[in-house]
Subunit: 228 residues, 2 copies
């Protein structure tokens, strides 16, 4: 039996909780949850609880906390700097990178980026749903697009830029890497790759086949988030 998960700033320190607003509407009208049914609530940090429903209508849901379920250890913080892609591909990035464990998505504008506008609200909603579906306790933050040059100034920790010219993305690098840089449909310019090298980036490739931006994102995020 699938258990529904919800992420919001719930106060999980008390034995009972009243849930109102959009979430109570969703629980009562969309999911049609019933009294006695179990749900999982996360407070959006690293704490989640199993609770059961005592009373439910669209205005208010009363739940009792049964047990604190997981206090996840700190997930590895993976920051994804991904060039803004075509709408449906960038939405795929938001969904899949979340499933694969990304902490933060920073859309970037590179020399060959064609599309520069994004709908953050919609992307954030996609990321929230993907978090709930995949069993994560937190929702990755999606920031406003910034220029590649600005990104270079703000990063901390080891960075990898993906390009077909790079060397193999070995386990050793997967372990160390914190920041992933994925280029636009037309790829990085030579100047950008040079600049990355000057900033001590590793230039890596994911293999002999040319992967689309969104595919490279999924695989790189998975590798870096799940390496032990």
């Amino acid at each position: 039996m699938k258990i529904h998960r919800f992420i919001d700033n719930f106060d999980l320190s008390k034995p009972e909780l009243e849930i109102t607003g959009e979430i109570s509407k969703q629980m009562a009208l969309v999911l049609k949850l019933k009294v006695g049914e179990k749900i999982e609530l996360s407070d959006g940090t690293h704490i989640s609880a199993i609770a059961y429903i005592c009373k439910i209508d669209k205005k208010s849901v009363l739940v009792k906390i049964e047990k604190i379920n997981k206090i996840l250890k700190n997930e590895k913080k993976v920051h994804l700097f991904c060039a803004v892609l075509k709408k449906e591909n960038f939405e795929l990035v938001a969904q899949k990178a979340t499933e694969c464990g990304v902490s933060k998505i920073i859309p970037i504008i590179t020399e060959r980026t064609i599309k520069t506008g994004i709908n953050i609200e919609r992307l954030q909603k996609i990321a929230k749903e993907a978090s709930e579906q995949s069993g994560r306790m937190t929702v990755p933050e999606i920031s406003e697009p910034i220029k590649f040059l600005e990104a270079l100034e703000t990063i901390e920790g080891d960075s990898v830029l993906f390009d077909i010219s790079g060397s193999e993305f070995t386990n050793n690098y997967q372990l160390k890497t914190k920041n992933l840089f994925i280029g636009p449909e037309g790829g990085w310019t030579k100047k950008e790759i040079e600049l990355a090298k000057q900033n001590n980036f590793k230039i890596a490739t994911l293999g002999p086949l040319t992967l689309r931006g969104e595919t490279a994102t999924i695989i790189a995020t998975y590798l870096v988030s799940n390496i032990k």
Copy 2:
């Protein structure tokens, strides 16, 4: 400069080649290629050639072979048995598994498979485009859907079925695995997992987060195709 790739049963053994039909139309009218431009042709096996255009109109394109470019070593043969998913997700599977190097996609019908029909022609077209775009020399074959039980009878080589209950999908297994089994939206039944075990399958998981079928497909195919 991006070079356009085409896969068809071209005869690359001669120094000159006349291309007609749909492809010449695409070259002349859609891509608006010009005399002197270089293209890459693959015969759909493992041979490709760089050629340049000598004459072009929508009915016929005359090219000269400049050099045989790659005779790829045998790619690892990865067979993906993926439960039929919702249309857009299964199309994503066809595209991304191709990019990641799959050899054959066998849609399967499991106990919890909801959708059972697929449009093979459309999926095969998506796979062909993904092959051309990613620089592969071959197009994976997509077969008619078969039942999970039938699949069990036809497989050869080591098989892995992905389920959250499984053990870690280690490098050692990535290396040995030939057949990947991915379940439908609602997951595998206990009976199916039991049956897989009886058939000497490994039951593996891709990590603590619940991945959607199409996401698991992309990652598993990449891992198995690219492990050295």
